[in-house]
Each structure stands twice: as structure tokens, then as C-alpha cells.
Symmetry: C2
Subunit: 843 residues, 2 copies
Amino acid sequence: MPDKSSEQSLTPFGPARSSFKDAKPLSDDELKLYNRYMSACLYLCLGMIYLKKNPLLKEPLQLEHLKSRLLGHWGSDSGQVFTYLHFNRLIKKYDLDAFFISGPGHGAPAVLSHCYLEGTYSEIYPNISQDVEGMQRFFKQFSFPGGIGSHATPETPGSLHEGGELGYALSHAFGTVFDHPNLIALTMIGDGESETGPLATSWHGNKFLNPKVDGAVLPVLHLNGYKINNPTVLARISHEELEALMIGYGWTPYFVEGSDLDSMHQAMAATLEKCVTEIRGYQKQARDSGKAFRPRWPMIVLRSPKGWTGPRTVDTHNLEGYWRSHQVPIADVATNKPHLELLEKWMRSYKPEELFDENGTLVPELRSLAPEGNRRMSANQVTNGGTVRKPLRMPDFQDYAVDVEPGVTEVSSMSNVAFFLRDVMAANMHNFRLFGPDETESNKLGEIYKAGKKVWMADMLPEDDDAGNLAMEGRVMEMLSEHTVEGWLEGYILSGRHGLLNSYEPFIHIIDSMVGQHAKWLEVSSRIGWRAPIASLNILLTATVWRQDHNGFTHQDPGFLDVVANKSKDVTRIYLPPDANCLSSVMNHCLKSTNYVNVIVADKQPHLQYLDMESAIAHCSKGVGIWEWASTNPDEEPDIVIAACGDVVTKEALAANALLRKYLPDLKIRFVNVVDLFKLTSHEHHPHGLTDPEFDSLFTADKPVIFNFHSYPFLVHRLTYKRKGASNIHVRGYNEKGNIDTPLVLAIRNGTDRFSLAIEAIDRMPNLRNKASMVREKLRNEQIAASNYAFKNGIDVPDLRDFKWPYGSPGGKADSNIKETVGNKVGKNAQAPPAAAVIGASD
Amino acid sequence: MPDKSSEQSLTPFGPARSSFKDAKPLSDDELKLYNRYMSACLYLCLGMIYLKKNPLLKEPLQLEHLKSRLLGHWGSDSGQVFTYLHFNRLIKKYDLDAFFISGPGHGAPAVLSHCYLEGTYSEIYPNISQDVEGMQRFFKQFSFPGGIGSHATPETPGSLHEGGELGYALSHAFGTVFDHPNLIALTMIGDGESETGPLATSWHGNKFLNPKVDGAVLPVLHLNGYKINNPTVLARISHEELEALMIGYGWTPYFVEGSDLDSMHQAMAATLEKCVTEIRGYQKQARDSGKAFRPRWPMIVLRSPKGWTGPRTVDTHNLEGYWRSHQVPIADVATNKPHLELLEKWMRSYKPEELFDENGTLVPELRSLAPEGNRRMSANQVTNGGTVRKPLRMPDFQDYAVDVEPGVTEVSSMSNVAFFLRDVMAANMHNFRLFGPDETESNKLGEIYKAGKKVWMADMLPEDDDAGNLAMEGRVMEMLSEHTVEGWLEGYILSGRHGLLNSYEPFIHIIDSMVGQHAKWLEVSSRIGWRAPIASLNILLTATVWRQDHNGFTHQDPGFLDVVANKSKDVTRIYLPPDANCLSSVMNHCLKSTNYVNVIVADKQPHLQYLDMESAIAHCSKGVGIWEWASTNPDEEPDIVIAACGDVVTKEALAANALLRKYLPDLKIRFVNVVDLFKLTSHEHHPHGLTDPEFDSLFTADKPVIFNFHSYPFLVHRLTYKRKGASNIHVRGYNEKGNIDTPLVLAIRNGTDRFSLAIEAIDRMPNLRNKASMVREKLRNEQIAASNYAFKNGIDVPDLRDFKWPYGSPGGKADSNIKETVGNKVGKNAQAPPAAAVIGASD
């Protein structure tokens, strides 16, 4: 390793301040070994970035040994290598169950080098053997076409966190240790990452971690001072502020600062030992006493130079300790001879000939520094979570069936599924948790607290327990940070458990990018043979757009479905169950599934029920179907198809159906409901997609389809654009219009939109239009009257709220008398309402 | 106001601890006045939530006086009212220029009540007059159809921050005070909101605020203890931790804690005065000395009961001081007589008859507590930013023209537009800033530092200035938090200035929801007559999907366009300029525009140039056009249309065009380029949309169109699904496929996709297919050879990198010799590449 003549100035405000700067836990011999192991790792890091041949530099370095295109990140490698190495010592000493999260995934060479030296890499990829040939392949494949990526990608053993998008290292770490009482997640957090919002709030995870039943997170905040082109905020505040910040976040910070290798080794060894001892002490105290409490858990601030152990300068530019060492540290080696020589000198300074034997195998005295078997962090089973995943013990969802008279029974689907979820939780008290940002009760899932309360490790008041449903050993995780709860859930399932996120639909866009990253992880993982399937990421969206009339325009956004629909068809599933029994059936399916992102959209308010359990199962299994009881002549070719996807819009469509049937009794109407959104697209685009003949058998190839959709109408068009009847599909959905901002206007629009829908149906049947002009007029007047009544009184339209399907059903008991509408009740003295008439027009 | 017999226990860990608990700045008379003003506000808050008639309770409260549907939030009203009220005192005393940001926008009644009492509301809405009739309308319109929303919506004078989605109060506040040296943004932050990621990191804004040239943010962290259904984290940590947290964030925290009104008034008055004195002191010091520094700015922790001054309990349930007072505090007044009586008693406890005169006008001694004119926070001009906005002084973008030989010249469009942006900045040094998350240099915009460096108020090292381009008085704002820089930019433009965000395309999904919220604000604002237009939110996306081969799969996501396309057509614009001159033209247009969200997508690497400035202006003005020089028979009906939207994909399409022309010289090819994405949709769906005849004149109604698109192909389909030739439009774009994860594979795919594109073109012309089978075979072999060559050598395909348009152009100098492809060079010894053959297939 290059000589370091003097300690660098790492901070603008004075010398490094290590918490244990005088400790000397390591003997001189140990020091030498640790220096050599670190050299081995860093040599490999450079090899990955630069070499495709001559891996041990047995020959002088030549251009032909270099990769044609140099890719990779050097900046954080040394700090990560250093931390990992020292934790190995404690794993061996205390037989710890631990793994490593590389927040700055860009420093993947650090993780890969340890993984290779520990032997895990060769066990999984025998081709990458522990010899010169294997090392050469190991180097070449890095950032090489057909090889592996430059992050801690799914291909990397020991990784469950890629780090491509920054911000989630700590929330992922917490997720992995919940309900894993002996696990320690050693978590490197880059000082760049620490500036992100998701990371900044995730420190508060310690208010939700129970030392009695959960494991521990040991964060190492790595202040190497620079991002891509800027210093980092936390590296440029005073020691006192930084210490206060970590204390304020509820941690006990220990500092390891410097660039002198020997003293840094001593400081890190002492500090990590202190941390591990504290962690084990808190856990023992809680477990021996049976009383949980919130410790001020230890964390480490590691301040080391960016690109540590690299050349201090290249030509006149700073390299080590500066942002220039972020990526490939010397990029022009192919064209600059002196730089090539500098690189060779630098690589040789690690003395590869003393680290690897003649065959290219790590020498035994170094190999013995790493733990064995699954104690190796790169081989910890939780990082391949599917291998430790136990299937959920599932109650029979059919036991939660709602008795249904189609279109007449009214129930909150969400309240009903809460019973099912409660029992799922009760049957899986150690590997299922419910996550959400402060909305579980509001979302009518409060029943679940009977199986498991909300975890709360911060201070409590007497009323918190009973009235507040808080408990230290709870099973529901709530913090007002979609990022944090999503990150926890991802960590929880990635490490082999099961869970469900419930959230308001309008704010789920906050985690668009997180879900996208997880989908990408799944997409790649599912094609890697040794990665066992993990539980699906289940997202239940409620407080949906159509019931956000009271909160207004900012709370109306059903566009998450578009974001998910862009992700790989192999991992994305979207369900819009129309009623309670369908919701239970879909929920059961999703909870049992693996390796998907499942999105379920369901309203939480009471609303109409349509299918008994048997029909619901059949309907959900098909994913789309004709509802015969709501169609006039189920066996005949219809004049028009009324279709709906989504619960609120299904009711609206059914009400429009009833209007058409009332006024145009000869019309042949087919009613289609879609549960599984991807049924709409071609089977070539999504495995759930219908073939064209299947699609046409439902929607016809040439009849008008009035499609009432939960979300933005364009999503249906993009899924169906290739269908034969595409130009006949007229989608009604949500459009961004601020004039439905004012409260209740959306509700009134919904309450009267069945008239518009029926009118559009008439308008889309040219043969009918003139014949039906009286009906059209009548519908229009009813609509205006109903709308005016609601506007005047500041209420939603009672008429739709109270709508029941009046035409009965096979086995149903609905009578066929049609109620008078409110429109009739309030008379004909009607004007166009200010907004409802112009919004929600079909596109 | 209800009597308070005893101080409540606000914390689980002992008594309230105000920083100035013994201060008595207010006389007894003042105390009485402040209590009465607060009563007036809170009375109005309840009136808004409950009443539609009998506003002053001159009659006994009856059911008929109540709104039919009760909506609104009470929980944070009292704390916000209290804070606002006390700041009024200091505005008057020191003639401060200040305004109020209501983080918990759900407490809009607090803001609205002040706004009404100050008279601003009646000035803007004369119908809501300062009398009984006006008050009745004021009450009724709140959360009433056709009225106003329950947040601090754009309709609310004095608001520039709605608060519908939580997390952005503080970043918005910082944005408003940059370059407004005398402005103070008094910013309420809910303790719920404080748990969000965006808020948690936005405290660090103080490292970017210069006391010499910027104004000040005074955050008031409002610990009322509860969210919707849970306690809040920051209310349940110890005083010591909370204090440390704020010190760690770089602030000086002062505490105002309690529930006893008189002592709270004294404490708040003393604390705010201390804060204002400190702020002015720091600013004076910096301005007098000419030396900027980072003060430890003051902030306030206000701990008061949720629903403060409401009934302590209702029946047996806690109300005041508990989460049950979050929303409508007593919801069943219409059906529960005792509760109605409780409400009446509660409302009367504020003694409205002593606050308002017989006419319903606030009594003069209270009215005089509020400031006058624009010193009223509700009337501060910056909250209607368009009124203080000065148009940018724009250099002529044509001066930055690149000389172009179409399809031959190579330039980095981004580096070129950097000169233009540099001069825009230099000409507008007080009202234009560039924002970005640590990527400005990487995005090749570093030239701009010559006009203004990066703002950095944290500690500095000697090398920061020259090598690092950091300065205290900089103009570029960089922090590794997309949330924070986006929030700053929004605040900056909402308060009347101009700016541009530059960001990596893959991570812009992080702020999907923020951009969505801003679009909603614009949509509503643009229909409010008194709101003047503000500068557009300009977002420049680069490091695009097609150049993310080295970072891999996690860095590939062009889906932000889908999110934006869902927002209102009245405020969304999306541009994909194909080259440097088009980029300059588009940039110029966007910077001058108002009230839009403009998204510009452009690659940062050097690439081919196509249009001279004159042609670029013409092309961008039309937004879409036929490139005659790249078409074979421009005046004739083509056999096939090759279209492209996006710079990288335009080059690829042009290369495919060249292949077709080489091998099928008789083919009539039309080449179309799209700059303005919304041209594709119908003019009925977007004001930029083409009519069907216009569309058909470009794309034909019946000929095959091979459309090479920058983003997910479905976006083109959703825009064009109604066009006559929709089923002939075959879109090639980005699809999520993890098998292009490994580095360079995407580059190789791009490097050889021109062959696939040409082959698809052949396959889409059934008459040609057999005739061209030899050509097809030849193209396929060339593709395989080129692909294998790149795979083997670990490089991208040099052939496409070096591609030049070989057919010249009017006035151009390109020769018509066609270079041999790499495929030919490396010979025919070819196999199918592992990935390139199966990906990127047209949908």
C-alpha cells in the first residue's frame, strides 16, 4: 500500500477526532494481517475496474491488459472494505449473525472483493475460481457486456440492496432485522446518500425497533467528504453539530476518523467491539428482563479520505481525498503512458505477490481472517431471503365471505378484508407485518390491531395502549413517511418474510421510484437461478380518487398504475376488485404469491356488493368476465357493452345500465367487469393478457364499449390500442381538472355521472340516437336536477349513494321496481350545474 | 374561551419547558387583546367547519344552521392561529416583510380566519364582506360545493403552499427567501409532516442560505403530538434529544411549551422577538461587514395541545390534546343533541358578541392588532409571485447557434446550451438560479459556473473555490436531494423568480408527486383571476436512459413523461429536441413561458446535429415536421414513414434510414421528427395536438410508420390511439428488461438496433417482404457480426458511434459514399448475440 507520510487534513475544522484514538486492541501481527487483507481487497477493486488480463501483474502492465472501456467506482471502496474487514473479526470472536448493506452501491467492488476472498463467489459461480484464471474472469466480467453490473446488483452474493438509487440503505436495514432477533445489519451509509430525504428520516427507525424481539442495525455513516462533484453537507459541519444530530436522531455516535492506516485499524477494531458489546448488552437486558425499552443504539461515523490509499495527486490534481476519485480514478491510462505507469506502481504497492500464492489463491493466513460458512456476510441466508422464507399459514379466505344479493347488499370491502388480514397476522406472528403511513385505522383496517398493535418504542402516555393501540411488541408499522414504511417492507420481504403496505392512493406517487427500483431488483433476481423467490411486494391502495371529494384536488391521483404498468410484465400485477368477496380472493392470491409487485386498488367506504364468494372466485380467476345478471341478453350479441374496472366506477356503470334498461327496454346490453387490469392487453405484452379472440368474445370487435375506469382513461387505451375494436372503446375515467377542486364537486359529479354515461351510450349508437332523443333529454334533465339539488344543499347526491340494482339476479331477491330518482323528486326547475356538466366527458 | 383549570401534561417525560417561561413582554391589556383576537380566529375556524347560517350565534344553535356535510380540520388551527397572531405584533413593531407558510395545509381555517380578519379576503372577494352576511358566506363556502377547499389552496390569499401533500413546507420556504434579502418566511411545520423524508432533510437548507443576500426562514415546529391516528415521533422523544436534533441540523432551537393561554402568549411573544432580533442581527452583521457566514439561525419548537382550547373530553373520550381533534372535532352534532349543545357552548365560550360588532365586523381594538396593507402576511406580494415577477433579460439564443452539416456535425447539445444558460444567468443575477442534485458538472453544464458558482455556506477547504466552484454568493443550488432542490425551485418561482432544474432522467421519478402537486397548483391558479402568472417550472432531464448502459438497469427509467402526461393539458409541455439548435430554441421558449411544467429531455454526450438555427426554429415552432433532406421523395406519398422523437433515437432512426436507402434505393422513405410530444395527440386532448388532417399529412393515414421513441413505447400509443393510421404505427422504445442490465449491453443494443429497425421496416411492408428477403438476411448478418464484435471486446458499437448521414442535404456537404459497417469488417463468422436479438423488438 502506498506510504502515508503524514495524516491528511480531513476536515475544514481541525484534526480528526476518533472516539477511541488511543485504543490498541490489535497486536502488531494482527495489524499486519489486517493491512494485508485490506490490500488484497483493494487490489481486487482496481483489478475489476482496469484489467481483463494479467490479473496478478506477473508481467509488466501493458495496454492490452486493460479493458477497452473503463467503468466502476473507486471512491468509497476503501472505507467499505475497511469496515467489512473489521466486522469479520467480531463475527468470528462472538459468532455473530450479520450481513452487510452497501448504501453507496456504486462501491460494489468493495463488496465483490470480500465476497471473492471469502470464497462465496466461487461457490456460486464456480467458473470464477480461486486461482489466476478465476481472478482474471472475475476482473473481466465486472462492468463488461454479459458480465455483472457496477453496483451491488442481485447477481452479487450477500447483497439484498443494490444501491442504484440512493436513500434506502437504512430503511432496508431495519426491515431485515425486524423479527430476526439475532441478526445485525452492518449498514454503510454514504454521506452523499445521507442528504436524501428518505435517508434523513430513516434514522428514526430506532423508535420502532424492539431489542427484545428484533435484531439490530449498526449504521456506519461514511464521511468520505465528496459526492460526484461537491463536498457533502455532513462532512462540512462541525464535529459538535454532527454529534448532536446523531444524538438527536436517538443514536450514540462513535467516531473513527483519520487516514493513517495503523491507527485507523486500531480505532475501528475498538469502536466496532464497543458497538457490538452495547448491542448485545441492550438485547440481553431486554430479553432477560422481558421488558423492552428503546436503547440509544450505537452508530459509527467513519471519516476517511475518498479514494483512500490511492495516489494523493495525479499531475497537479488532488485525487485521494477529493471528488476526482469518485469513479475510475485515473481514466486516461490507455492514452497517457505516465498515468499507466502510475497505475501499475499503485497496484503493485499493494504487493499482490505477498497476498496470493503462485496459483492466485489468497494465502491461508489471510483466508483465516474471514468467517466460515454462513457466518460469512456474503453467504448470510437472509440476503437470499427466499431460502429462509416460510409460506404464510393462511386461514381460508372463503370463511370471510359476505352474503351477497347482487347490486343490493352494501358492505365496506375493506372492513371485511380486515378480518381476514387480522387472522393472517394472528397465524403468522413472527413473519408477517402490516405497514402504512398513519392510515391503517382511517383505511378501515383497524380490526387488525386485535391481532397485533402498532409498534411504538418512543415514549408513551397511559392512554396509548388501549385507546391508541400502541405496543412495544406490535405487528403494525406506522410512520408518516411512505419512504420509510416502504423501505421497511422491502427489507422485510427481501430477508424472507411477508407483508402488506396500505396507503392512500393519492400519495403513493411519493414512492414511485422505490417501487420501480424494487421491480427492477425482482426482474433481475427472478432470472438468477440461485436466488429463491421472495414474497411479493403487496400494495393496497385506498382512499381512492373517487372518494377524495372532501380533501380536494391535491388528493386525487390514480396515476400510480401507469408507473407500475411501465415495469416488467414478468413482475407486475394490478387488481381492481369490484367488491368484498373479490377483494378477499385477490388478497389471498397476492399474499401467497412470490416475486411480484401486486397493486390492489379498493375503496374503503361501504358500497354495493355484487358477487357471492363462489362467483367472486370464478370472476377473479378469470380476471375479467361478463356479469350475466347485469346483462339483458347474456347469450346474444349486444348492442352495446358497458364495462367497468374499479369498485366505485362499477357501481356507477351499473346505475347507468339500470337507466338505459329502464328507458330503452329493448336495448341489448352486456355488462363486463375487469378485475385484473392486464387482461386488457395482449397476451404478447403481458402473461395475463387475453388473446384477441378472447378479448372480442367479451368486448366484441365492433360494438361500442363504454368503459368506466378507475384511473386516467389513457391507461385503458394504451393497453387496448391493438384490439380490433379499439376505436369503439370509449373510456370514461379521471381527468385532471381543477374545477373539481372544491369539495364535494367530485362527489356530485360521481353522483350524476351515470346520466352522462347513459347519454354517451346512446350517442355512441348512431342508429339509436334520434329514436332515443326523448330519453336523452329526460336523462339530461334528471341529471341537472340532481346536480343542482346537491350543489344547493352541500351534499353528495343521495340518489347514487342509495342506488340498488333493481333488476334482480339469478338467485337474488331484488325486485324490479325502479325507484324514482332524486332528479324527479326535486322537480324540473333545473339549470346546468357549474361543473358537473363539463367534466368527466368521455375522451 | 373555555377555562383551563390546570396545565395539561403535554409530554410523557415531565413538564413543559419554555425557553422564556418567565418573560412578560406583554401588558395585561395586551394579553387580553391577544386572547380576544385568538378567540375571534378560533371562532371563525369552528364557524367554517360547522355553520352555514346564524354565523354570530345570535339565535340558539339549531340543526338547520349546520352544514349537511361537515368537513375540515381543527387539530392544528389553534397553534397556527397563535403563531400567526404573535408574528403580527413583530411585523408592526419592526415593519417586517413577512409571510406565512402553513405546512399542515389541513389547518387552512387558521390561515383563512386571519386572512378574513385582516380584511384581505374581502378585498379580493368583495362578496365575502366584513359583516354578518359576509361572514355567513365565508363560513358556508368553506368545504362546500362551488366554494373553497379545506387546504390553503390557491384560492387562499397569502398562500403559496397548499400543504395537501406533506413534506415541502421548509424547502418551499427557503426557495421564497433566496434573493429576497428582507423577506421572512414564517413556516409552520407539523410534527406529522416532520416525519416525512423530504422535510427531514430540508432542515439542511441553512447550509445554502446567505445572510448577506438572502432573507430568512423562521421555522416553527408545531408539536401538537398527534397525526391522524398516532402520536408523532418528535413529540415522543426527550427534550434533550429534540434539542440535539435541531442543533445538529444547524439551528438554535427555542421552546414554547404549554397550554395555559396567558403564559403561552408571554412565552411566544418573547421567543418570537428573540428570533426576529437574532435574524436581523445576523443579517446586519453580514451586510455591514460584507462578509457572509452561516449563522446558527433560530427556530421555534411550539408544543401545544392538538385541538387546543377545545373541550378536554367528549363523553369519555379525550378530545383536546388527542388525535380525535384532528379533523371535525365533534362529528355527530346533527344526530346527538347533547353534542350539539356542547358545540354551542364551546363556540359561545369564545364570546363572539365581544369580538364582532352588531354588523359582524371585528371590533376596532382587535382590528388594529393586524398590520396594514401589504405588510399583512395574507397580502404579501410574494405570495402572488406573478405580481412581482420581472421577465428574464434574455440574450438572443440564436447567438449560440451551432454550424450544422445535417447528420454530419457532432456536438454536445448540452455543452452548447450551457453557454446560453451561462449568459441567461449573468443577465439575471438576482432572479434566476439553476438547481440540481449534484449533477450540473456531470450534465455538462459546468460552463454556467463562470456566471455563478455553487452556493455553499457550510465549512470550506482552500481548494473549494477554484477547483470546486463553490462560493457563498453563488447562483447554482446543489444538494443530493431531488426533493430539496425541487422544493427550492418551486418556492423560488412561486415567489416571482425564474429557474431551471437539471437532473438525471432515471431519478426524476423521486419527485413525481412533487411535480404533480405543483401542476395541480398551476392548474387551479391559472383560473383564478387575481393570481398573476408565474415562471414555468422548467425541468431539464439528461443522463437519459439510452446512455445509462454503464450504470445499468437501475439507472434506466424514462417514465417521468407518463406521469407528466397525466396532468392537466393546460399546464404540461414535453419537449425532446433532437439537437443543439433545437435545444437552444426550446430552452429559450421554456424560460420565457409562464404557468407551465416544461419537461425537456436531451442527451449530454456529443452526438449528431441536424438542423441549422433557422431550420431549428422553424422545426421547434411547428413541433413536428418532415425532414426533407432525410427523405427520399419529400413531395410524394411515401412507402414508409420513419419517425423519431428524442435525440439518441433520432440518430438511430437516421442510421436505419441510411441502411434502407442503401439496400433498397427505390423505396420512398419519409423521415419525420417530433420535438413537441403533445403534437401526437388530438388537438381536443391537448392545445398542442394536431388535427387529424395535419397528423395524416405527416404520418399518412395508411402507411406503416416505424416510430423510434425515447421512452416507453406505450406513451406514443396512448397519444395516437385515435388516429386513423393508429394500427400502422409501430413504436420502438424502451422496455424493462433486466437482461440489458449488464454494462454496455444497452449500448450494444443501441449500436445495432438500426438493423432491427430497418428489418422491421421491411417486415411492415408485406409487398416488399419477399422481394427484400436477401436484404433482410444481409442486415441480420451485419447486426450479428457487429454485436458479437462489441460483446467480445467490451465496447459499444463503434459503427453507430461514428455514423454520419451519407446522403448530403440541401446546402450540406456530406458525400454519398456509404461506409462499410463494422459488421462487414469483422466478417461473417457470426452468431446471435446473447441479448441484442431479443430485446427492443417493436411492440
